[in-house]
Symmetry: C2
Subunit: 203 residues, 2 copies
């Protein structure tokens, strides 16, 4: 079933597809318009600048990241905060692995207009989701003395670093053909002493 969709949404969708298929390199107003079957000036009827368009794409990415973490969390025991936190790690890197181009864009402040309110809102929501998980974990004894946001920042950084370096293939030549999930399992082991059940992949 095809749904009638606004040109605006189609532009964002086209950009997302381009990014994940071709990478971030050739992204631009003209290329997006070309792929959407529009004249090269058309996107500016919907976004005042390229930076705004890309910010909308990135915001959509943060929404997907949020959803990916939700999916991962839903596969483990709701009453086990540590398991949820460990699952969130998998959710994070799976999003990055599944949408490498968008993931790469989301943290490129030279491309996205980070002043866009939607960008800030969605980015904040994704981080807030992790902070909540951390707070719950602290309530059951996981480093309750640390500032939640800082602890969340460190966990986020670990997943972010794993995903970034893996996607840039910076780790592959030195660590071999290691898959990302295996590295996340190690990261969880270091941070949480994660149990085997936690490190299992959700189906």
């Amino acid at each position: 079933m095809r749904v009638a969709v606004s040109t605006r949404d189609r532009l964002v969708d086209t950009a997302r597809t381009y990014l994940d298929e071709e990478g971030i390199d050739g992204i631009g107003l003209r290329e997006i318009a070309r792929r959407a079957g529009l004249s090269h000036g058309a996107p500016l009827r919907h976004f005042s600048t390229l930076g705004r368009l890309l910010a909308a794409v990135a915001a959509e990415g943060f929404r997907d990241l949020y959803a990916s973490v939700e999916v991962a969390i839903s596969t483990v025991d709701r009453a086990d905060p540590m398991a949820r936190l460990a699952a969130a790690s998998f959710g994070y890197v799976r999003f990055a692995a599944g949408s490498p181009g968008v993931f790469g864009l989301m943290f490129r402040s030279d491309l996205c207009d980070t002043g866009d309110p939607e960008y800030a809102t969605e980015g904040g929501a994704a981080f807030g989701q992790l902070v909540e998980l951390v707070v719950d974990a602290q309530a059951v004894g996981f480093h309750p003395d640390l500032v939640s946001a800082e602890l969340a920042g460190v966990l986020w950084s670990t997943m972010h670093g794993l995903a970034s370096l893996h996607l840039h293939a910076a780790l592959a030549p030195t660590t071999g053909q290691t898959d990302l999930d295996a590295l996340v399992r190690i990261a969880n082991l270091l941070a949480f002493g994660a149990s085997p059940t936690i490190s299992k992949e959700p189906s």
Copy 2:
């Protein structure tokens, strides 16, 4: 004392200074030449392409990263592998904080010609340095069952993520005015259960 230096080295130096002062955005052959007081075509007498020049800059960056880690390590007990590993984390982020532009460039494969042998050599050396530290730590009981290169990859990723997100100011708005060393201390606490002495900054 000023030392006579080759134009080639001056170009690399000029690029490094530009990157750390102005960021990665306006980098290019013409800008580097301008700052070095040369005509815009001159750099091509020393580097066949811009990508090669930037690869040389990045290679120099890896050498500095290596040195920064060495400095950090030298401040702790040589006979304590865990302390050395924890100190290495500080060395990593200090390099990134001190040379944010070069650090940003080093992992931009769209800008650096990563086929450059010097780039690969120096990058490999920096990672190898960390692997050696990990091997020593494993010898005294730190997750001896894990593959050294994978464990090193996870630790590298954590520091890389912290440095990247911090420099992009992605963490600042949500975690507050947190300084980088504080986050590294938390990361070390999670990974190593680091003692206060380890988390102290080398002077």
